[in-house]
């Protein structure tokens, strides 16, 4: 395959990138004792991108014989040429960056990867265990997904890379009821690697127990009163903040459209304690060694000791900012064109102990894990759902609260940070980052003490008839 792609790329005078991408995925989902999904999917094809007269053109095709590839390359070139007549800001060049050459394996193929039937059995047992937890548990779901990617990327910039990747993820959900009240508890995890890697941190049974514990806590919990509070965010929420509210604003395409950090390189944007990094070479669900433009991934320090240092780039934006590309241009399937994306994004741990951080709060909350829903704007303003909340009064953890949403301006929140724990974790769960196309991303950090606005259900008592 690589030979054919090289021939096509080098036969053109225009800049051309061809990405042949085969994906095999397996989905297993149990819901309330029933196998809802047992699926095996093949999605394969080639994405071809051409740069002509300062404009891109992109064509995807599921037929990858040489003739079709040549035809599609021609179509991509034609599309770019047509569009360039109307494009105002022409692309003046592509940035440099180390090109990937050779074979890149993101995971170790292991002999202990269970067969489909064995996985079905294990997940079926786990799902049954949720329902067996008690009469208060009224529903259950286990969702497992693994995909294996093999890619060949050849570009006019010199990339000649073969990439083998595997991402696995699991989500466990318990639905509980008490009287009229219903709640949901979810535990999820995603990694680069196979089945045994997925459960190396927490065993499947432990995840089941945790999901049941969360739903029971929520059933007992009351609503939090809204207002501004000092809180401790757990590593997952810190990850969500780092990725969702900060990370997107430093993606160079967002910067160019006027995000809140445009022209702020070198400025103080967060407390001295904050160092924020994007690094695809770390272990995590967002691991990337070579991106979909064929650039080798290298760590990018976004914020160093509170000072904004770098944005995240594709080759196109790297050229505009006179810097080098560091492997953040990613495409989800062959049908997608590369976009600037994060990989593993995290805040570096600090020197504090979690218990001391709690002791320092007179009236606030410990917030753990994200719930459904969350969003952030180019302004850095964000709103995230929180799965578990606990009141902190006079330095002690008190009763659980539920239905919490936190909001604020991310950089203001990071300026208010006054303590970071030594403990560190990177685990964004089983989710995907969405920016026109999905991407597997991971994020994390230490426990972080800061000020946020809690949008609780004010006057909830009166509102219930």
């Amino acid at each position: 395959m690589i030979k054919t792609l090289k021939e096509i790329v080098h036969s053109q005078n225009e800049h051309l990138e061809i990405r042949d991408h085969k994906r095999f995925s397996t989905v297993i989902q149990f819901k309330n004792g029933v196998l809802k999904k047992g699926e095996r999917k093949t999605l394969a094809g080639a994405g071809i991108r051409a740069l002509v007269d300062g404009c891109w053109g992109f064509v995807a095709t599921s037929e990858t014989d040489e003739e079709n590839l040549r035809r599609s390359a021609g179509e991509a070139i034609k599309a770019a040429r047509e569009a360039s007549q109307l494009k105002k800001e022409k692309i003046k060049g592509l940035g440099t960056g180390e090109v990937g050459q050779g074979t890149f394996n993101l995971y170790q193929k292991k002999a202990d990867e269970p067969e489909f039937g064995e996985k079905v059995n294990a997940l079926q047992k786990a799902e049954a265990k949720i329902r067996d937890a008690g009469n208060d548990i009224i529903g259950s779901m286990v969702n497992y997904h693994v995909f294996q990617d093999s890619k060949v990327i050849v570009s006019s910039s010199g990339a000649e890379a073969e990439i083998n990747d595997q991402k696995s993820e699991i989500a466990i959900v318990a639905f509980g009821a008490s009287g009229e009240k219903q709640e949901m508890g979810m535990v999820s995890h995603g990694i680069t690697g196979g089945w045994s890697d997925l459960f190396s941190r927490n065993h499947l049974d432990e995840m089941v127990e945790k999901a049941v514990e969360i739903v029971r806590t929520k059933l007992k919990a009351g609503y939090a009163p809204g207002g501004n509070y000092t809180v401790i965010l757990d590593p997952q929420l810190v990850g969500v903040l780092a990725h969702e509210a900060i990370g997107h604003t430093v993606e160079a395409d967002f910067v160019l459209s006027g995000s809140v950090v445009a022209d702020k390189i070198g400025e103080k944007v967060a407390s001295d304690l904050i160092t924020l990094v994007d690094d695809g070479t770390q272990e995590g669900a967002g691991k990337v060694l070579v991106d979909d433009e064929g650039t080798v991934n290298k760590p990018t320090v976004i914020i160093e000791n509170g000072v904004l240092k770098n944005y995240l780039h594709s080759r196109e934006t790297a050229h505009m900012f006179s810097t080098e590309a560091r492997g953040n241009a990613r495409a989800f399937t062959y049908r997608d064109e590369p976009l600037i994306r994060m990989t593993n994004t995290f805040i570096q741990p600090g020197k504090d102990r979690l218990e001391d951080m709690i002791k320092g709060i007179e009236d606030g909350f410990l917030l753990v894990g994200m719930d459904q829903g969350g969003q952030a704007d180019a302004t850095g303003e964000f709103m995230f759902g929180v799965q578990e909340g606990y009141r902190i009064k006079n330095g002690e953890i008190k009763e659980p609260v539920k239905g919490i949403n936190i909001s604020g301006q991310a950089f203001e929140v990071l300026k208010s940070a006054d303590a970071l724990s030594q403990e560190f974790n990177m685990d964004l769960g089983s989710g995907y980052c969405g920016k026109k196309q999905p991407a597997k991303a991971d994020a994390g950090g230490p426990y972080l003490r800061c000020k946020v606005m809690i949008g609780g259900q004010q006057g909830k008592g009166e509102q219930n008839e």
């Binding site: 569009a83 529903g139 509102q463």
Partner: protein
């Protein structure tokens, strides 16, 4: 190979390989898309896709596999994969595939003009949009806009004798933008249009609306919290209210015990003025289709009538389990098993215009976009209002920021106090502006 050759071949391979029943769903799609980012034309895209999804039943067990490599070899491997999965799966007696039933073609869902639409046409649509938005006022930034044309061919064949094919066109435009004046940045505002007819596409009008929304949001102020009325735009209503309703009436969620309305059939779930229908047979509507993901004709349904819950949405599996007739709501494509979803989900409009509705509001909030969670299981929601306007005594309207609303959707449905006569199509939903009473609004 023609479409028919492909799916009939897959069907034959399945039967020969020893499956008790086989269902093949075929999808071919040609799409063109022009994208604008940062106020400028970006990557024009072309995509030719075809793929099959194969569902098999063997000894009461089901398996599914899909592939978009459609050589004979690959089709054989896909069918074999589905059988392997079935053999390794637990038995489920409710699994099955439907028998043929009468199907009727639907008018106005395929526009032959779609075949001639080129990337150059979409580029023109995009530049009309830009001229009408940023072209008129440079404070407006079009963050992302997409102009998309699709020709979709769907086909289904199963071993019980279902054979059906259909062609559809879909023209979909969406845009996200904001306005910036010095340090003052508006919320992200959204515009959206979808239609099966090429000539219905007016991107100039979309551009005007986006510009007005973004500029109208400049100078937003904070307000103190209060409890009052909230008027949801169609866009906000779909996100906040209709998605949870779709969750609650999905028969699969009912049977799984997670629908909050599982005990409410025939009972009151909303205020008297609130009615919803679902009709996949309407000519010219985006969610209309001759057959669903399993080959069944969509049945027009009254879902909620004057506040009373009338029907669930079923696919073949949930209908068999409940001993009911499938309603033609199996959703999905070739890459996954049939799920359940609405066809054209329509909230009945009211008599008052939006303007009159707003005039009657003493103290409240107009929400053009809602950003946040709404948990469909409990119905609890709390999120940020984007592009919100504070309304006092029906007249004074000022843009607000950092305002959150919270409550419980299923309770709020009993507090619907108004529906506008204007409606808007968002995805396969059509809804008026919806006014709700007694919502808790948090400011700061």
């Amino acid at each position: 190979m023609s479409n028919k050759d492909i799916y009939l071949e897959a069907l034959e391979i399945g039967k020969k390989a020893g499956a008790d029943h086989v269902e093949v769903f075929f999808n071919r799609k040609k799409s063109l898309e022009v994208v604008i980012e940062k106020n400028d034309l970006q990557v024009p895209k072309g995509d030719r896709y075809q793929g099959i999804g194969v569902r098999v039943l063997k000894d009461g067990k089901m398996g599914f596999a899909s592939s978009n490599i459609l050589t004979r070899e690959s089709i054989e491997a896909t069918v074999q994969s589905a059988i392997d999965i079935a053999v390794n799966s637990p038995e489920d007696p409710a699994q099955g595939i439907p028998e043929p039933s009468p199907l009727e073609e639907i008018d106005g869902i395929y526009d032959p003009q779609g075949e001639n639409v080129s990337l150059a046409d979409l580029i023109t649509k995009g530049s009309d949009f830009m001229d009408a938005s940023r072209g008129i006022d440079s404070r407006v930034t079009v963050d992302t806009a997409s102009f998309k044309a699709e020709i979709i061919e769907r086909a289904i064949a199963n071993s019980r004798g279902i054979r059906a094919e259909e062609r559809k066109t879909k023209f979909e435009n969406s845009a996200i933008g904001f306005a910036r004046e010095g340090e003052d940045i508006s919320s992200f505002v959204v515009e959206y249009t979808v239609t099966p007819e090429w000539k219905e596409l007016n991107t100039e009008e979309m551009g005007v609306r986006l510009r007005e929304k973004a500029l109208g949001n400049l100078g937003a102020e904070r307000i103190p919290g209060f409890k009052g009325s909230v008027v949801l735009s169609p866009f906000a209503a779909v996100n906040l209210l209709l998605f949870p309703i779709v969750f609650a009436i999905n028969a699969d969620n009912v049977q799984n015990g997670i629908s909050p309305w599982r005990e409410k059939m025939g009972g009151k779930v909303a205020s008297d003025i609130f009615s919803i229908s679902d009709d996949g047979t309407l000519p010219g509507e985006i969610g209309s289709r001759m057959f669903d993901r399993e080959g069944i004709a969509p049945k027009p349904l009254q879902v909620i009538n004057e506040g009373k819950l009338i029907s669930w949405l079923h696919n073949y599996y949930t209908a068999s389990k409940a001993g009911e007739v499938p309603t033609g709501h199996a959703s999905g494509g070739d890459q996954s098993l049939p799920a359940i979803g609405p066809n054209n989900f329509i909230v009945s409009p009211g008599k008052d215009s939006l303007e009159n509705m707003l005039k009657n509001i003493d103290r409240g909030l107009l929400v053009t976009r809602y950003s946040g969670g709404s948990d469909p299981v409990s119905g609890d929601f709390s999120g940020v209002v984007k592009g919100g306007y504070f309304i006092e005594k029906g007249k004074e309207r000022k843009p607000v920021k950092e305002v959150m609303i919270a409550g419980n959707i299923y309770r709020l449905l009993h507090q619907v106090i108004g529906l506008s006569s204007e409606t808007q199509r968002i995805l396969n939903f059509r809804t008026p502006y919806i006014a709700l009473d007694g919502v808790s609004i948090t400011g700061r």
